[in-house]
């Protein structure tokens, strides 16, 4: 039997859950279909960075919109998501890097964005006392911070359900098709039909788009992270190094998360990843050199989440270029977590109002396909 609903969201990551929640707030009751469980992949196991810092310019408006929601996250989802705002700092390891950051901040200021601020060695030392003496400065985004990704995605899922969304977990959406002006999706033995379909299936979204005639240059990747045992508090902001691929964050409980984008091998069909310990050893060595206080910490666990990375590192966000009622929200390319709350709000506006005040036009799937609509 086919159940008629207001909208179908495929994918229970932070994006699918946020869109489902915001649709409910706008009076649209969706069904959300997740083949595993909400937050099983990248959304639940990423570094939790809530970062406007060092973003690609086309996604900055969405990131700023999202930041406003993060700062009132408890009001939205009745859960603080362990969000903490101690800033994020991009460390320059030498004068050349600092010069390129100076140019970047000037470019942003020229565009009217003021969230990134160039800092000198003294301010860097004040924010990150443990950093090596040789670093000449960096960039800070002071409102940035970090949250607990699994807690956050779970909170969005829970709140969406409370507001009237139907959340189906452990069942895959199959046989996606358009028929009589409605989108139809099979879920096990049942079918759902709705005028609106949101493709927020993360690493699995490229296949859905391709099957609907909108192939995009996307690959599946699995960035690795590791976490240490508790060490005495020594750092507040999230620290990012660009040259040596490192991100670094100490949580309130003392544990330290080490990331930076080294990749595991994903086995998407098995929901599995095989870690590359030789690359993790490089991260360990970088931390060893930059933060002597960390040398005796133990590594408790390492993992990688499966996600989609676009060739141009920008998400695919907005209406389909081919089909009415189809919306894409995927390909966040290792930096989608912070965007989740804002992207759900904007997506709901696109669906319900047909437009939004937040500039997202550079993120559309039409950058790969001339619009046929």
């Amino acid at each position: 039997m086919t159940k008629r609903v207001d909208a179908i969201v495929v994918g229970g990551g932070i994006h699918g859950c946020s869109t489902a929640l915001h649709l409910c707030l706008a009076g649209v009751k969706p069904v959300l279909i997740e083949k595993d469980y909400a937050g099983r992949h990248a959304s639940g196991v990423n570094a939790g960075g809530v970062r406007q810092l060092a973003r690609h310019i086309p996604e900055i408006p969405l990131s700023i919109r999202s930041m406003g929601i993060w700062e009132k996250i408890t009001e939205l989802v009745d859960d603080d998501c362990s969000f903490e705002s101690h800033g994020q700092v991009l460390v320059a390891e030498n004068e050349d890097e600092l010069a390129s950051y100076r140019a970047r901040v000037a470019e942003l200021n020229g565009l009217g964005f003021t969230h990134e601020e160039l800092i000198d060695a003294a301010e860097l030392r004040r924010l990150v006392p443990a950093v090596a003496d040789t670093c000449p400065g960096g960039v800070v985004s002071r409102r940035d911070g970090a949250a607990n990704p699994a807690q956050t995605t779970t909170a969005f899922r829970r709140k969406a359900e409370q507001l009237g969304a139907t959340v189906l977990e452990g069942v895959a959406a199959t046989n996606v098709r358009q028929n009589g002006g409605l989108w139809h999706v099979d879920v096990g033995t049942e079918s759902y039909a709705a005028p609106v379909l949101v493709n927020a299936a993360g690493a699995w979204a490229g296949k859905i788009a391709a099957a609907l005639g909108e192939p995009v240059p996307v690959e599946t990747v699995a960035p690795m992270l590791m976490i240490t045992s508790r060490v005495p508090h020594f750092i507040d902001p999230v620290v990012i190094l660009r040259g040596r691929k490192l991100s670094f964050k100490q949580f309130k409980n003392g544990t330290v998360l080490i990331g930076g984008g080294h990749l595991a091998t994903p086995y998407q069909d098995r929901n599995e990843t095989v870690l590359d310990w030789k690359s993790l050893a490089i991260s360990a060595r970088t931390v060893f050199e930059l933060f002597p206080v960390m040398r005796s910490a133990t590594i408790v666990r390492a993992w990688a989440g499966i996600e989609a990375k676009m060739k141009d590192d920008l998400p695919v966000f907005g209406p389909s270029a081919r089909h009415k009622g189809l919306y894409h929200q995927f390909g966040f390319s290792l930096h989608g977590f912070q965007l989740g709350p804002g992207a759900g709000a904007v997506m709901a506006e696109l669906i319900v109002n047909g437009g939004t005040q937040t500039r997202v036009s550079d993120l559309g799937i039409d950058r790969f396909h001339p619009s046929a609509l």
Binding site: G39, E272, L280, I282, F288, V300
Partner: protein
Amino acid sequence: MTMAPKREAYDVVVIGAGPAGLAAAATSAEAGLSTLLLDENIGPGGQVFRAIASTPVTERAQLGADYWMGADLVQALRASSAEVIQRATVWSLDRNLEIGVSIGSASAFARARRVILATGALERPFPIPGWTLPGVMTAGAAQTMLKSSGLVPDGRTVIAGQGPLLWLLAAQILRLGGRIDHILDTTERGNYFAALPHALAFLTSPYFAKGLSMMREVRAKVQVISGVTELAAAGDGQLASVSYVAGGKRETIPADLLLLHQGVVPNVNLAMAAGVEHRWDELQLCWSPVLDASGTSSVAGIAIAGDGAGIGGATAAVVRGRIAARAAVEALAPAAAAKLAPMATLRTDLAKAERGRAFLDTLFRPAKQFRIPAGDTIVCRCEEVTAKDILDAVAIGATGPNQLKAYRRTGMGPCQGRLCGLTVTELMAQARAKSPQEIGYYRLRAPVKPITLAELAAVPKSEDDVKAVVRG
């Protein structure tokens, strides 16, 4: 001395030098395969034969004849060409059969064509009120001290729980002059009836005579209280007393040391992290790997032998080690297999060694009240999460152990779920009216044993690594 593996790749890497690992490595090397045995203890033997090559206990009867069987296994291994590295902590194994190991204070990697996991068993968690108090420890920990250092308790000592190892430990403590005031036997009365159908096999197994004489020996010296329920430890920052109900009466006895034991379960962490499929075992109430008759797992190239394959005891472990090694030899060097004991003989040996096991499993099946705690009893020691905390999380939407991490961080501490995993699965299964199989287990991740950042940073650099780090 730090000793990294001599080669980058081996035909067979055996992990764990208990009964199964010792037998597997010796068999594989004897057939001419390049064999590496990695073991995290300072000497071979595992838990059953702990300190077999170094124990200060010299009077053989004190540790029992079964213990000294380990000496023969060690001798056979040392006579073979197997490379053996002690104090080698394997912290990673993946489906490509890449092994990450920490030796001395540096990490090393080795590759294998076949891996035989012989990581043995762990004591089942025994979550009662007060089990985290100083002065409460596991019987296994007490046995480790006894074997490696000859140390036995001298304060007021209570042993509580059930299972063959509990009686063995009690006998060993008494023989070495240690003190035991009470044994609180938690075996459920109904188990005696349930075990009856298996009694014949047990009566004709080697366990029977040994077990009976050991229990008689202990009962002659210690007051044993049967049918114990509602066990709890209490004290202000240190164990002071143990209380329980027996024969419908609550008793409280003063104690300085409480040793808890309710059986052992397979140590599955490394196998699970490697992606090996496991199933819930309804009789042994634990996760066991899905294996074929030669111990081969769902991951190509990985076999599991010994108690890690399902609890079977030391004698069965030795045979399972030989079977897994023989299967590896058959696959990699079929001609060499002729040197080894035929598979049919090994399978007969195994059937003999496993005789009586069903009786023990049924008789000593731990009671629900000691597996599934309630209220303020701590479940996750690393993050201090209580049974009530977990039920609260279930009530607001946590559906399984992995989802629970988002609410309570259970299983995310240094023990990697070893002390809480089974409890969490059964507690959530009960709360959600599902089977443990449906509820599932933590997704385990390397490093399965914590390694220091410095150890990992000390991984030798390959040329590609150097290129990746050098900038400009």
